[in-house]
């Protein structure tokens, strides 16, 4: 069998880098549906997956795509799908099933402009709150927002690792600009990539309990066909996996589903700070907008404005502590994102009115140029 990835330097788009990252992470099942601007991920994997013993299937819609990904994951195979806004909306119910049944998988959303069909070929960052709350009920989710093809490659691997470790669907919330831009991507030697796989159960099969957690609040996961007689349901269930329809069981289940994320924030959350040490103004941004924000920081510094950037690589769970710590020492915040203030509201919540917090946002379809950020830096502070 051919190697899944070939090390070297490539000039590729974010979408292709994402597909390469998935192969490097050990993804061997992709169930998808064509949608601009995420189609290239599916196309690339349709070529590569069968050659490494994996499976690609183009399903009849995104609902089916997400269901097939969950099914394959319970078969013991690392699985993913990739889509954009409308497809992401259709996947929501089964993302919830993945949360409730603790099914590891990766969902990529190459964001385009919404609502509805919107601007299919142009980028935005308008699905950030949908990523957080798009499926019904109250739950925790992990969402990453890479800002370059190289970073998509690595963050796709991280997404698989987090999904396998904490047993949940992990979302990659990239955007059309990053998905479609071509840049240098260095693909390392596969031996240098650290892949995590779901913890497997040990001990007696007849007394096995599907949702009996370990000290990290995560239960080991068998695959179908191994003799554990597992029952997996989206109904509220007890540690055996049996549906128990009462408030006490629900509380117990949810305490763990939420707890396994909230007690491991230090392990999950990744951010990157740039010139924040002496900064008076903190820019909060992610994805493509963090790159234009970086240019704004450079220019601001030249003009004597002490700006710095906190780039969110993990958007959910939200890096609250980082923002709260910054709020103790900076004079103000500017959130830069291609929507009308989804993450900005989170920033405001964490800042708690201690200092002013501004938004540089947009309806979508275009990047936010550094000049617009600079204007706010110069006029507001």
């Amino acid at each position: 069998m051919k190697p899944a990835i070939n090390k070297g330097e490539y000039f590729i788009t974010g979408d292709i880098a994402c597909a390469q990252g998935a192969l490097a992470a050990g993804c061997r099942f992709f169930g998808g549906y064509p949608i601009t601007p995420a189609t290239e991920i599916a196309e690339h994997l349709s070529v590569k997956l069968p050659k490494v013993g994996g499976t690609f299937i183009q399903m009849e819609d995104e609902i089916a795509a997400m269901a097939s990904v969950l099914g394959a994951s319970w078969g013991g195979v690392k699985s993913m799908t990739a889509t954009s806004g409308p497809g992401f909306s259709l996947m929501m119910e089964n993302i919830g099933l993945g949360i409730c049944t603790e099914t590891p998988c990766v969902v990529v959303n190459v964001q385009r402009v919404g609502p509805s069909t919107g601007l299919p070929t142009q980028g935005a960052q308008g699905d950030m709150m949908q990523a957080r709350w798009g499926s019904h009920g109250h739950y925790e989710i992990i969402a990453l927002a890479p800002s370059s093809p190289q970073e998509i490659f690595y963050q796709t691997i991280t997404a698989f690792n987090l999904s396998e470790k904490y047993r949940l669907p992990v979302l990659i919330m990239t955007d059309e600009m990053v998905g479609h831009m071509s840049e240098k991507v260095i693909i390392p030697d596969p031996k240098k990539i650290k892949n995590i796989s779901r913890r497997r159960p040990k001990g007696r099969k007849d007394s096995f309990k599907l949702y009996e957690p370990g000290p990290d609040m995560v239960a080991p996961m068998p695959a179908a066909g191994e003799g554990y007689n597992i029952h997996v349901t989206g109904l509220t269930h007890d540690t055996r996996g049996y549906p128990i329809i009462n408030v006490a069981t629900h509380k117990q289940m949810m305490t763990r589903l939420i707890g396994k994320i909230r007690t491991n924030l230090d392990d999950i959350i990744q951010t990157e700070s740039y010139r924040l040490d002496d900064a008076e103004i903190a820019i909060i941004s992610y994805g493509i907008s963090s790159r234009t924000s970086l240019a704004a920081v450079e220019e601001a510094r030249k003009r004597g404005i002490k700006a710095g950037l906190l780039r969110l690589i993990t958007v959910w769970p939200f890096p609250e502590d980082k923002i709260k710590q910054l709020a103790e020492r900076v004079k103000g915040f500017v959130t830069v994102e291609i929507n009308l203030g989804q993450i900005h509201q989170e920033v405001q919540r964490c800042v708690g009115g201690k200092v002013p917090a501004f938004l540089v946002g947009d309806f979508g379809g275009t990047i936010i140029p550094p000049e617009r950020v600079l204007e706010v830096l110069e006029e507001a502070f």
């Binding site: 169930g31 097939s68 049996y242």
Partner: protein
Amino acid sequence: MAANVKKAQKKSSHPLDDLLRTDRIPSIWCPGCGIGTVFSACLTAIKQSKIDLKKVVMVSGIGCSGRAAGYVKLDSFHTTHGRAIPFATGLKLARPDLTVIVFSGDGDLFAIGGNHFIHAARRNVDITVICVNNFNYGMTGGQVAPTTPNMAKTTTTTYGNPETPFNLPLLAYASGATYVARWTILHSRDLTGSIKESLAKTGFSFIEALAPCPTNYGRRNKEKLMDILKKYQENTIIKNGAVPTQLEIDHKNGVVLGKFVDVDRPALGESYEKICRQDK
């Protein structure tokens, strides 16, 4: 004494107990419901097939029939409404060594899940789909389904159903299923036989099992349970190989039962292996 009681209990156990999560019995199914009979036919067929039970998986959607996955002592998945088939498709493609059975109801498989049914049949995914057809949505209290007969009463068609129901075997045949059969719960041996045949077969199999829902459909349409069973006995015609276009459920002239389709064509897993995985 205690040992005797235990022994007596062991003796009185059901022959299918080894395939049941007995700690979850009694089921939620109402007295007179037909799902249990289809469920036992399915379990009997699994048992008779002598397949390694470790490798048999049941996937269900939502609804009364969808609860079957919760009672079977096999690897079992109770998924979202209508999505049992695409879940099963992913599972089967990822794990070709598994025998995958989708057990669900008519509303789940043919209203909300209808699109997935036709595509899985077209692709010839190697799974067996068993549909308990009780002509209405039982779980939610008896609403109209895509199988409800014209003019029948349900809670959302109190004036009579203005729509026309699906001819399910025709839909399965037209979509590309390689095995299609229909029985009633009164024909449990034939039903078991068909399920057993379909499990041995590679390809997309579809079995429709007509079943009473006395609590909802029966009550609103003045059908007493015994009358329904009588109808299943007296007003059915067994006609193997019948033409699928002539399989509308006709309660006046008789409902046609039997095995209608049993053909071979390469299943998806096999074609994928040959066409996509082999180095050219």
